[in-house]
């Protein structure tokens, strides 16, 4: 099994990254903040204005270190990824399947089935663990709605129909989302999913965590040689990592939503970690981002037993493993793509 190495976060706004002796050197003005060998890291997430030197980016590509750039506020700019994406045969296969609705539909169905299944179990888990404190009826109702949606997905014959089912399921799921928040109800509440800009703290947190997950999925897909821009369910659009978004669907509830809920329910994140901007949007501030990233990194180091492979691994490797399973499906080694179904 591949080992997941550490991630380097660069949060100082004025930091500049450069290359020296196969090391990434983080510099702030004349002061050297850190120097880390590229061999010992997996990816670099850079939240600084100044960016990185071309020499470093080239070396990262050579070593297979994924570099992603964000604005200091956490908006995703771009990624530089390793040179391993040269498998043209695999990519051609991916494009052929993406062009053929008949062949891409089963894969898209798997993504959505995984998502709905996982959403349902997030609800069921709260219902089971905190029956005294939550609106059990509403949770049970929404969970039943998701259960019936799961049945419909199997019989659906067109991608558009599938998109409709997915939209409805997401609505059903988010309708009960507020019940999953157990503490600090005055500060953290959920009415409706809002983005660009997120209008309350929970949406701000969800958006930021989804961004992190997108960049992990993009890196994973690129790492196994797939083109993250050509998706099976999400429509092609310039600059949109459609396949990463496809792959993310099944991971959203188990990886991102559960993480956000545990941050709120354990009190790890506080109202002081957010700030409001002129346009009414609510965003994490510097301290909040640090809190979230630290917790995110810790979560990635936690272990699970993969339900399909029956093998122990860290949560951080899950996107990579799912991407590998997707490759096997595209090659025809697996009959259908097995999404991560987490109970």
């Amino acid at each position: 099994m591949r080992q997941l190495l550490n991630t380097l976060f660069v949060l100082s706004e004025d930091a500049y990254l450069s290359l020296k002796d196969d090391n990434v050197v983080v510099q702030n003005k004349d002061e050297r903040l850190a120097s880390i060998p590229l061999r010992s890291i997996e990816q670099i997430l850079c939240f600084s204005y100044k960016g990185a030197s071309p020499a470093l980016m080239g070396k990262c590509a050579e070593f297979g270190v994924a570099v992603s750039f964000f604005s200091p506020r956490g908006r995703y700019y771009c990624s530089i990824l390793g040179e391993k994406n040269r498998n043209v045969l695999l990519r051609r296969q991916q494009f052929r399947i993406a062009d053929d609705e008949k062949r891409s539909l089963p894969i898209a169905k798997s993504f959505i089935a995984g998502k709905v299944f996982n959403c349902r179990w997030v609800l069921e888990r709260t219902k089971r663990d905190h029956a005294m404190r939550v609106n059990v009826e509403r949770l049970a109702g929404q969970s039943a709605a998701l259960h019936s949606a799961l049945g419909q997905i199997g019989g659906c014959s067109r991608i558009d129909e599938l998109r409709g089912l997915e939209g409805n399921a997401a609505k059903d799921y988010f309708f009960a989302f507020d019940d999953l928040i157990l503490r600090n109800k005055d500060d953290f509440f959920f009415e409706v999913r809002s983005r660009r800009p997120p209008l309350d703290r929970l949406n701000a947190l969800l958006s930021f965590v989804y961004t992190l997950l997108t960049s992990d999925c993009t890196a994973a897909l690129q790492g196994v040689g797939l083109d993250p821009y050509v998706g099976f369910m999400h429509v092609d659009r310039p600059g949109r990592v459609s396949l990463a978004l496809d792959l993310m669907e099944e991971l959203r509830p188990v990886v991102a939503d559960r993480f956000v809920l545990s941050m709120v329910n354990t009190g790890a994140i506080k109202p002081a970690d957010f700030e409001e901007r002129e346009n009414g949007g609510i965003f994490l501030n510097d301290k909040g981002r640090k809190v979230v990233l630290t917790a995110w990194q810790k979560r990635k180091m936690e272990e699970l037993t993969h339900p399909f492979l029956n093998e122990k691994m860290t949560w951080g490797l899950v996107p990579y493993v799912q991407a590998l399973l997707l490759v096997r499906t595209l090659r025809g080694d697996l009959d259908a793509y097995p999404p991560l179904m987490w109970k």
């Binding site: 190495l5 380097l8 949060l11 060998p37």
Partner: protein, 96 residues
């Protein structure tokens, strides 16, 4: 896996001082300097062979010495740190 590389290079001659610089430079590529002549390298087994080979070519076996301590993949409870730290620990959260 985590390998600790410690070296002792005789610096009485100019050639010795040159070897010391070269050894340090080769180690920097593979690991983090934790003390003056001690490096902690998080490397794959194949990278370790490359590093060993590189170092052996530099040193003079008559008067210098090299030691490699292999701590394996689960190294975090085998390292204890007291006092000031001069590097980012490779198993902690790396944030700058």
């Amino acid at each position: 896996m985590m390998v600790v590389v410690a070296y002792d290079v005789n610096t009485e001659t100019p050639q010795g001082r040159r070897r010391l610089r070269l050894v340090a430079k080769a180690c920097v590529k593979f690991g983090q300097r934790v003390q003056n002549s001690v490096f902690e390298c998080l490397v794959s087994p194949s990278d370790l062979l490359v590093l060993k080979n590189e170092l052996v070519k530099i040193i003079d076996v008559e008067c210098d010495s090299l030691r490699f301590y292999n701590l394996g993949a689960k190294y975090s409870n085998r390292i204890e740190q007291v006092g000031r730290q001069r590097h980012l620990p490779s198993d902690g959260i790396m944030m700058v």
